[in-house]
């Protein structure tokens, strides 16, 4: 109990912050070292926390770490961890720490070891620029800096602490360098000798002594590919100059202007409260703000229209969409180039940005007037822009400029996954347990112990897809926007997280919109709300917690409670123990529920021939493989459903392929899970020697609950009598004890076994290429996995998907008239009556010959390849939109498709 008390004590804000300098504080924590979590030192002064550790998976990235087994590396990481603990409190250590954290975070998208990154990038972009600087030139350096004097430029150190980056040029020296060398390039060599921050001074000395003019070798840095999500997320200060420069060049910009007279006059910058990227005078949005402010003012007052939504402007030959968001008399402007984000997405983006800002700060005004908030905002906006500019998904859309056509789902809602019912129950069960927060067994002092937080809801993501949400719709929309535009979802999809913990105070919508004077009985308490995000592997669990009301009031700076973090972590661990991560990995690649046709050419005459020849080959291999796996399966399972399904779908090689992959995955998984099982059963025995109920509770689920409760009570009793040291072990293995693992695993296995291929289109062949079912009210959509295009790896399919997404934007825009009309019968601006009536909109597309040729379909034997993209709104039972893309050969009825799709949920 002692330890728990300690924790509670620690959570009280007066300790966590004011004791930084107190040496007694240091000693106090030194004895409870084991309870201090590894993220502790990263808690900011405002109580916020962002802690990310990415797993170094050799096969995770193309740029695999080269020095994984390097001795120094291991030593360093050891050192780091030790130092984390030692330097928890104490100002000097803290300073050291933040630098360490930075160092750590440079790990980049590649790994934790920076030199690997630079080595890799060396190989990646082998472009160098060599400049010879005349010895006779001596530049005026105000700072009396040797580098400036000799070369006329200033350098800064890369986050790895070694590499030298060009930070700026003196005006006199610009002629020498520009345009060949740009800010942000690495200074690699002087006179052919490699330089870094350690030897630069020696090198300069040598240059001074040398009679010859020095030759400088710069490495060209092609911006985006060195962008590092982890680094950006953990950023505590303003983003580095090279990134700011990059954003400046790309014409992304954000500006917040206060337009009321009082503040306009008093403010030095004529009402501009925030502007990024800076400096002000280089920001085109800042320079031209007059136009937008005037228009924003003029449109509603003198023209009788609504406030402007977006202006498309041409600047420096770049087409830029400037979006508006008004907040009383203030104006938020956001500019993104059209090539990165088209009009459709830009309009959506501003909405999300406003949502994120309000969610994080309560209102736009308080966001931009909060003191010392500039660095945080810089970080936030740089992340948003980087998210939009660079697409790190490892698929065809990597080419720049193609990005914007690929975004439709991303910008309309949160991408959810339909899981089989039994899996969904497991997931929901895990989250519910977290939410229930039944912590009785951890304290016997129930009367005096008040909880710190109520969990209002949580949502769980896997690889960027929403698995389950127990949040209010509006909260989900905001949390999803926050996770998405901060690239957290992308990070979780691209890398395997070792540990991610984020803690932030938030302002939920219900609270924001609540009338202060409303004395309604059901009003939410005047509390505070916190968002806790915990990640592991590809999972992200976001939990919304409330302080106040029935829980303790949070006063002052509130840092994360290790207890609740552990709770969330153990929730994820539970899912791991169930084997959900493995299940999902195979589920995501299974292309079922419903299945889409990823090889469209099979629907042509030529394709059918191709398929026939393939089929005969395939059948042979299938039987071979099956014969191998059959005995295994038979031994472990009496049912051979899987095999049957494999054969029945053999007429379609794709189905076949997938079911084959199931075999192997399943096989592998089964083996590993068996190991797991043994392991966990050991654990079971270790602490539940006296609970027989555990063994019997696997039969009926209702019984299981009672069994669980009984078990828990027993444990609680034992705890109270037992020693304190039981605590940690208890905590870790609690979950595995409460739920019968064998039972769940079995059910999951069966589920995977019975993966039936579902079709939602009519006709003999599967003619469905893609679909999106959007519930904009809920902010959720269902569609094939984001990786489906990559899985298909097919030119024709990619072409179809690109057309589908472009067409969807147009259809979506049109259908909004109907949606808006249904929502609001007397809109302020009269809607076009004819457009309001449209419920379904479809277009028939023809694939150009070039694309067909690439798929091996020559002009000779090719009838035109036609496919439909159709969208429809349904107002009953709740408004939703359905978009489907299918081959022209079989006519489809969207109402029927929607019905079939709804059965799958």
């Amino acid at each position: 109990m002692n330890k728990f008390k300690n924790k509670v004590h620690y959570e009280s804000p007066c300790d966590s912050d004011n004791d930084w300098t107190d040496s007694t504080g240091d000693s106090k924590y030194s004895d409870s070292e084991s309870s201090v979590p590894e993220w502790d030192s990263d808690v900011g002064e405002d109580g916020e926390l962002i802690f990310i550790k990415v797993k170094n998976n050799a096969n995770d990235e193309v740029n695999a770490p080269l020095l994984e087994n390097c001795e120094t590396f291991k030593l360093r990481s050891d050192f780091k961890r030790a130092s984390t603990r030692r330097s928890t409190k104490g100002r000097i250590f803290k300073a050291l720490k933040s630098r360490k954290a930075k160092y750590d975070s440079t790990s980049g998208k590649i790994n934790e070891y920076e030199s690997t990154v630079s080595k890799n990038s060396l190989e990646d972009n082998n472009k160098f620029v060599i400049i010879q600087v005349s010895k006779n030139m001596i530049f005026n350096s105000e700072k009396n800096c040797q580098i400036e004097k000799l070369f006329g430029m200033s350098l800064e150190t890369h986050m790895d602490g070694k590499t030298l980056i060009v930070a700026n040029f003196l005006t006199e020296a610009k002629a020498i360098y520009i345009p060949r060398v740009k800010v942000g390039y690495y200074l690699l060599k002087i006179n052919g000798i490699e330089v870094n921050s350690y030897n630069i001074n020696n090198m300069l000395q040598r240059v001074i002594e040398d009679i010859e003019s020095p030759k400088l070798t710069f490495q060209v840095v092609t911006g985006g590919f060195n962008i590092d999500l982890v680094k950006l997320l953990t950023l505590k200060n303003s983003p580095e100059n090279s990134l700011t420069q990059l954003l400046k060049d790309s014409m992304c910009s954000v500006l917040y202007i206060c337009c009321n007279d009082v503040e306009y006059q008093s403010n030095d910058d004529k009402g501009v409260l925030y502007c990024y990227p800076r400096p002000y005078n280089q920001n085109f949005l800042y320079n031209t703000r007059g136009a937008y402010v005037t228009l924003n003012h003029l449109a509603p007052k003198s023209l009788g229209t609504s406030e402007p939504v977006v202006s498309t402007v041409l600047y420096n030959n770049t087409l830029i969409n400037v979006t508006y968001a008004s907040h009383f008399t203030d104006l938020l402007l956001l500019a993104v180039p059209n090539k990165n984000l088209d009009l459709f997405c830009a309009k959506k983006l501003i909405g999300y940005v406003v949502k994120i800002l309000e969610f994080l700060y309560g209102s736009l005004k308080s966001c931009f007037t909060k003191p010392n908030n500039v660095d945080k905002l810089d970080g936030l906006f740089s992340r948003i822009f980087v998210h939009l500019l660079f697409d790190n998904y490892k698929n065809a859309s990597k080419e720049e400029g193609k990005v914007n056509t690929m975004l439709f789902e991303e910008f309309v809602a949160c991408h959810a996954v339909t899981l089989p019912l039994e899996v969904k129950i497991q997931v929901d069960d895990a989250i519910t347990e977290l939410e229930a927060a039944d912590y009785r067994e951890w304290t016997d002092d129930v009367e005096n112990f008040q909880r710190l937080y109520t969990v209002i809801g949580a949502c769980l993501y896997y690889s960027g897809h929403l698995l389950s949400s127990h949040l209010r719709d509006e909260d989900l929309v905001e949390i999803n926007a926050y996770l998405k535009f901060n690239s957290i979802l992308r990070l979780s999809a691209e890398k395997e997280l070792d540990k991610l913990v984020m803690w932030k105070e938030v302002f939920i919508k219900e609270h924001r919109s609540q009338n202060k004077n409303d004395r309604n009985e059901n009003r939410i308490p005047d509390g505070r709300w916190f968002l806790l995000i915990v990640g592991k592997g590809h999972f992200i669990l976001a939990t919304l917690m409330e302080a106040g009301g029935c829980t303790e009031d949070a006063i002052g700076v509130t840092s994360p409670s290790p207890f609740y973090v552990e709770e969330c972590e153990s929730c994820l661990e539970l899912l791991y123990e169930v084997g959900l991560h493995k299940y999902l990995a195979s589920w995501f690649s299974s292309n079922t529920l419903p299945q889409v046709e990823t090889t469209p050419e099979y629907l042509t005459k030529y394709g059918r021939k191709m398929k026939d020849t393939l089929k005969s080959d395939n059948l042979r291999t299938t039987t071979l493989k099956l014969s191998k796996s059959q005995p295994d399966l038979k031994r472990r399972h009496n049912s051979s459903d899987q095999i049957n399904s494999g054969i029945s779908s053999a007429d379609n090689p794709i189905n076949n392929y997938h079911s084959m992959s199931h075999h192997s995955l399943y096989h592998q998984w089964y083996n590993s899970s068996q190991k797991n099982y043994r392991h966990s059963s050991n654990l079971d025995i270790s602490y539940s020697e006296d609970s027989n109920s555990l063994k019997s509770n696997s039969e009926i689920s209702e019984e299981r609950v009672t069994g669980r409760r009984a078990d828990r009570e027993q444990k609680a009793r034992r705890d109270s009598s037992g020693s304190d040291s039981d605590w940690d072990r208890q905590d870790g293995s609690r979950t595995s004890g409460n739920i019968d693992m064998t039972d769940i695993r079995k059910s999951l296995l069966n589920e995977l076994n019975n993966v039936a291929v579902h079709r939602i289109t009519a006709g003999e062949e599967n003619v469905l290429f893609h679909f999106v079912q959007l519930e904009s009210e809920k902010g959720v959509l269902i569609a094939p996995m984001k990786t489906i295009e990559m899985q298909a790896n097919n030119v024709l399919y990619s072409y179809i998907i690109a057309s589908f997404k472009k067409a969807c934007k147009k259809i979506h825009d049109l259908l909004q008239y109907s949606m808006k009309f249904k929502k609001n019968h007397a809109p302020s601006n009269p809607l076009n009556k004819i457009l309001v009536a449209v419920r379904e909109y479809g277009s028939l597309f023809e694939v150009p010959h070039e694309v067909l040729n690439q798929c091996g379909i020559t002009k000779k034997n090719c009838e035109p390849f036609l496919f439909w993209v159709v969208g429809r709104v349904f107002s009953e039972p709740e408004p939703r939109e359905l978009y489907i893309c299918y081959h022209e050969s079989v006519p489809q009825d969207l109402t029927e498709v929607a019905l079939l799709l709804s059965y799958l949920e």
Binding site: G290, S302, P308, G401, N832, Y841, E846, V847, P848, P891
Partner: protein, 411 residues
Amino acid sequence: MSAIVIAVATESGVPIFSRKRGNNENIQFSTIASLHGINMFSKCHNLSVINSQVENGSILWKEYYKSVTLIGIVTGGLECDLELLLACIHDVMVFCVGKKELENLKNIDQLKRDLRQCYPILDYLLESLDPNSVPSMTLVLDLTQSILCSQAQHLQQVLDTYAERVTGRWACLSIHGHLVATSSDFYELDPRESRLLLLLAAAQDGAPLRDTLVYLPYMSPDVAFRAVTCKLLADVYVLVVCGATPALSQIDEIVLQCWEGYAQIIKEAKLVHPRNFPGSITFEPCVLGIFLININRRRCVFSRHLQLSNQKGRGMSGSHRMDILRTFYVTSARDLAPELNFREILDKDSDESLGKITETYWSSEYHKCHAQRSTNLLCCVLYAPTIPTHTMRLLTSQMLQEFLTNKDIHW
């Protein structure tokens, strides 16, 4: 719906004219100045504001010859055509006063007075954005409304001789403001120019014979031609573009000589209106309206009185059908003919084209629209809501086939 178009002298900021349609108030001078100021300010910063969207509408600035700026504001209508509207209005200005006058802008007061004569034409153009009215002249901005009749071939010969007699080249015959027949060389004119000529004839309603000085915006923006309109019968005009001679009195005689014997044919052709299709073409009863477009010639035929027998339309009023088809064409069906797409500034970096679309449809509780393209013809059809999609496709393609092969159709 409300639409406002303002013309301002770019340098001085003096308003040249302002036209409006819909239920909005007149725009104040100070507002015009502010709007113009926004454009000037952004120009100073090498920024050009191309388009600004408001809810259900948009605001657009367009500058021509560095001398005249057009500002358009539309809400609640077919705002996607605002850019096209401004381009058309600019054409009208050139048509009336010539390019030189607009470029130099020496005497703004004179220009204002000169432009006053084209106000009726401007108002005709503005009605194209209003989805809730019966347009008298402009159904859509980029197409010339026509009537297809079997007499067209015959009338063409007459037009050729008439044009020759008055030493002109381009002549056409219009009935109810619809283009019926043309001289053989008429298509040398830009479609936008020929549409302006028709609008001119409509704007001069009533005058039996009249000549006007016009500048053809694309063919000869600097040298004026003489457009002679002559009323043959009620609602029937013959139009010719010619040089300074012959004098109007001579033309009067020539008209009489040329057209005297063809009154009967013209009367027959006049009977085709408002069905606008030759009698030999029949339609299924489920077809409520049709909008046929000849893409190369930028001509369109609209018909809502498809059944020959005089049966009353059920439920939907005729003008509503027209609105639906027009809205369908402007918002969706135009994608089938990318060559009709009018956008001056497209981002070269982003691929905004939708790809090749061959068919498109809308369906609502009250009606269905379907558009299909075959070579040069684009056919938009309004169906009853009970028709299944695949039947629509079948019927439309059958109709298209008929239009391509029927001998009575002369574009």
